[in-house]
Amino acid sequence: MNRIISPKNAQKIMKGVFWASGIVTIIILLIIIGYILIKGLPVINLEFLLENPIDSGKSGGIAPMIVSTLIITFIAVFVATPIGVGAAVFIEEYTKENILVKLIRLGSETLASIPSIVFGLFGLAFFVIYLHMGWSLFSGGIVLAFMALPTILQVSEVSIIAVPRSYAEGSLALGGSKWQTIYRVILPAAVPGITTGVILGMARAMSEAAAILFVVGSALAMPLSIFDPGRPLPLHLYVLATEGISLDNAYGTAAVLVLLILIITVVTNTVVERYSKKMMGR
């Protein structure tokens, strides 16, 4: 026996390594969120949440920014979800591994790796200039939809693959058409997974500043329609910090953004978990 480390010790060491990796992940998250909240929470009060900014955000609130963020996020999710889920259904149910599928996957992977500032430049060139739409939350929402699309597609695909084939067989054997099988059996069973994908895509869209920098127009006023310019939270945070307007309010804005994402994620997860439990009878 000339082993340097016995299997028993190797087991112990590796267990420690994996355990430490898990703990480090939690600590990093806690440090970032904790720092943001410690710096940001004191700034947050009802006035900060409900009022318009004064002096470019030096004082006053961030209500238009919260509304802008909610609008573009909603547009992004509303546009990207049907396309992403639809493409996933197409790949998994309506076609085999062929050139088209490879192209869709390549497209989606490439889309996922494009730097967000490039999305922003495209949004500027295409929506703002070419389509003459001007700066608007709508254009921003569409650009963010493109960014959220690959995540939604990839996670939806995995969720659809994970639905046991026996469900589909049961439906087909009862005389169900392909579409009925997809719509009534496969998609409902894949909903928890698909929702996770939507949430991941949404969080990415919600926290994006660079992609919408040239598209939404950075207006400080409360947007009155989706075609108005606006200034979502990440962009406001960026402007506040880089132009030295108010670092305190930048932390406040960041805290609101983090809390907003946290609330949406937790609420959705709770709903999905309840749905899964009901579905699987646990």
């Binding site: 046991p164 026996s166 067989e169 439906s171 054997a173 009862l174 169900g176 579905m279 699987m280 646990r282």
Partner: protein
């Protein structure tokens, strides 16, 4: 015409593999027919040609004819949806949908466009009663079917199948994943169901074949070696290979 299904010179290929060879067999109305034989002999492939489930496999090719009530089920004019309504299937592993017990049984009715709530409720209840499951689930129809035991799930799948009133029920080793008590329940159920349905059951369990079926066909390497009355096939088989198989010398 006594026969529900008439199969003549059926040959099935998956790509180059010749899975079923010159199968000819007639299936009597309102009788139970067992298909026995070692694993990989083509029994499951055979019953899957009867409701055209093999159509889902790209490499599937077949020749020969299969008549259901005198009509060719592989006629291009035949709507597979209608066929599968007439020829129901119960799978090896219970596969209820992750939906409520009620919705599982109502599923077939709903996809066939039935909207009348009273009618659906009545049919769900009747089907669950016929599948000998009603008393166990009547208090929890809105609970998920996934919470039922394996045996209950399989009876639910049978209820789901009979809810659309098929003529034929195909059962692909319906008890192989179940405990003995659940198996007995399913076998009792099969006895009851044959009054209304023609049943074809694939089984690895030869005692089961003798218990539930009037007729038996013995498959080996994609061929039917012998078929006929179950009593005769098990007591005085004509073919040496049948004898070897039922006495446990192979398979």
């Amino acid at each position: 015409m006594d026969y529900r299904i008439e199969v003549e010179d059926l040959n099935v290929y998956f790509d180059e593999a010749h899975i079923l060879k010159d199968i000819s067999i007639n299936i009597k109305k309102n009788r139970v027919t067992s298909l026995i034989g070692p694993s990989g002999c083509g029994k499951s492939t055979f019953i899957r040609t009867l409701n055209r489930m093999n159509d889902l496999i790209d490499s599937f090719k077949m020749t020969g004819t299969i008549l259901l009530d005198g009509g060719d089920i592989y006629d291009p004019k035949v709507d597979v949806v209608d066929l599968r309504k007439k020829v129901g299937m119960v799978f090896q592993k219970p596969n209820p949908f992750p939906k409520s017990i009620f919705d599982n049984v109502a599923y077939g009715l709903r996809i066939h466009g039935i909207k009348d709530k009273d009618f659906i409720e009545k049919r769900v209840e009747d089907s669950l009663k016929e599948a000998a499951l009603w008393d166990e689930v009547k208090e929890k129809l809105d609970k998920s079917a996934m919470g039922l035991s394996g045996g209950q799930q399989q009876r639910l799948c049978i209820a789901r199948t009979i809810a659309v009133e098929p003529e034929v029920i195909l059962m692909d080793e319906p008890c192989s994943a179940l405990d003995p008590i659940s198996t007995t329940k399913i076998e009792d159920l099969i006895h009851k169901l044959k009054e209304d349905f023609t049943i074809i059951i694939v089984t690895h369990n030869m005692q089961q074949a003798t218990r539930v079926s009037k007729y038996t066909a013995f498959f080996l390497n994609g061929e039917i070696v012998e078929s006929g009355l179950t009593d005769k096939l098990f007591i005085e088989p004509e073919d040496k290979r049948t004898e070897d198989y039922i006495t446990g010398r192979f398979g």
